[in-house]
């Protein structure tokens, strides 16, 4: 990084890697079950990438491997240029993660949650205070800053959760069914926020069951039984399966899955 470059990103982020996320025959086996089987794909910087698939298709396992929480059985993956097998801690410093459970402490205030997670991402002193002020304002959380998170609705919890996940300006943001259980207005607002982050250069990997959300992604990947079945823009994917909509593709996939099970 050249001197004088203005960047909020952590310094250790390597410039060399072209893809934000890169996987190569990524595989995870639990006992006799192959949860993820030979996944190979790339996610470009600043891309909004959707991951779809029925429950148990291997989405969560994939995300866990990409976060450096689970060691792949075989294959390789890099996230922000770091090896998931050996550089879990570096990865976790450069990613944000938000799940449908929001992961906020109900018995702490909005401010305390934000303060806590900011501290865990290594922010401190003036830098932390400035960033927290910024997040409270941009997420519209200021009026609720002293409120216990447990007393707020799902939509607000979602905003706090997002604020905590991006406190450290992560290079990559993992969103695991982030809009489950929130109202349509909050969902729309959330996606506006996601696009804003992506336009700022943040790479977004999102899993969802909402087909309208899938359509908002620049590219989507379909997983089924641990395999990558299709990848591309939603037009490409629907064309590949000869279905009119992504929803039809999804249902068709689910049918195939169940056919195998039966």
């Amino acid at each position: 990084m050249t001197a004088g470059t203005v960047s909020d990103r952590p310094l250790e982020q390597p410039e060399s890697a072209s893809a934000a996320v890169h996987t190569e025959k990524l595989t995870k086996v639990f006992g006799s079950i192959t949860a993820v089987d030979g996944l190979t794909f790339d996610i470009g910087r600043g891309e909004v990438f959707g991951m779809l698939g029925p429950n148990g298709s291997g989405k969560t396992t994939t995300i866990r491997m990409l976060c450096g929480l689970l060691k792949p059985t075989s294959g390789a993956a890099t996230v922000a240029g770091f090896d998931v097998k050996t550089q879990g801690e570096e990865i976790r410093r450069n990613i944000g993660y938000m799940s449908q459970r929001f992961g906020m402490y109900d018995d702490m205030t909005v401010f305390e949650n934000l303060d806590f997670y900011s501290s865990l991402y290594g922010l401190g002193g003036d830098k932390k205070r400035k960033r927290m002020d910024e997040l409270l304002d941009t997420q519209g959380l200021r009026p609720w800053s002293g409120q216990l998170v447990g007393t707020l609705s799902g939509g607000w919890k979602q905003r706090i959760s997002l604020a905590c996940a991006i406190a450290h300006h992560p290079a990559i943001l993992f969103l695991d069914e982030p809009t489950a259980g929130v109202d349509p207005a909050a969902r729309r607002r959330f996606w506006d926020m996601v696009y804003e982050l992506a336009s700022g250069g943040t790479t977004i990997l999102v899993t969802t069951h909402y087909m309208d959300e899938a359509a908002r992604c620049q590219r989507i990947a379909f997983l089924s039984r641990g395999h990558l079945i299709a990848i591309g823009t939603s037009e490409e994917v629907t064309k590949q399966f000869g279905q009119p909509t992504i929803e039809e593709v999804f249902i068709e996939l689910q049918r195939r899955d169940e056919g195998v099970t039966a």
Binding site: R101, F102, M108, F116
Partner: protein
Amino acid sequence: MTPSSWRRSLLWPMLRKEFIQMRRDRLTFALLIGIPVIQLTLFGYAIRTEVRNLPTVVLDESRSSDSRSLISVMEQTQNFRIAGQAHSRDEVRDWIESGRARAAIVIPPDFQRDLKRHRTAYAQVIVEAADPLASSAAISGAALAASVRVNAILDPRSTRSPPVEVRVRPWYNPALRSSVYIVPGLIGVLLSITLLLVTSIAIARERERGTFEQLVVTPVSKTDIMLGKLLPFVAVGYIQMTSILILGRVLFNVPIRGSVLLLYVLSLGFIVANLGAGLLVSTLVETQLQAMQLSVFFLLPNILLSGFMFPLDAMPRVAQWISYALPLTYYLKILRGILLKGVGINALWHETLILIGFATALIVVSVKRFSKTVT
């Protein structure tokens, strides 16, 4: 920032968060503070393993002023409550067998004569000991209480050998009050409850609410997560211990004969062992409810078989074997040793080493399991 200094700096936010939550969680906080008071009152006042106000029948064959004063002194010890008079040995047997009396004071005809001749005068105390709790403690208590008082009253009349023979002389707790015995044990039991139950529930709560999932995707290390969770409870444990010591002293006049500092130092092994057990429980469960159930499963033998409520000697062999596998058994010896006997480390190194062994084993196993469940 070097990796190690990064790691160190993240323990502080973990601890701060834990204290914020502890302050918010009024119920748990109240329980942590309230449990010692409630337990102490319960065990100190309500549960009495010593026998007081034992319904007693009197057979006074001496019918003298000395025998009457002996009886009244014994009554004053409050170990005995005179329920009636018997006129023969058979009648005494009858009283006890029928359950109308659980003890008898028998004063032979030559009691006053022996005293006057400066000979040892004998009085007999019979205690019905079918109730195991009343057994040895009651017998020795009765004999001792009687002899001590009788000596004090009757001594001036004899400058030579004591006029009433003392056979039993229990040490450390001359009044044989069970609170003196129970309160030190209560420290061990409460520490177990706090450290095992509350810790495992606190960790299970993070899993249940999904905050654990959020924590592990941040740069915070597993060590910091564990320490952040466990250290606050070490502090809580010491606070509880201190409050029981103070309350026990104020309410029940429980002695602190040995070094408090030594007690606090030796307690660390026990505390770490229980934190290890709490951590272990948390890795075996998914929900707070399961954590509670499994903790109680661990706690029950500790309370029943460690020698806290029932003396180890009185237990069947199998129960004794189990008691050897409980950290609390050894910690109770340390507590009672230091508080009641005033002994130093020399008398306790055996227990201390065993506790360190427990602590090491439990921490190694639980940390291993914890690291696995993080992913």
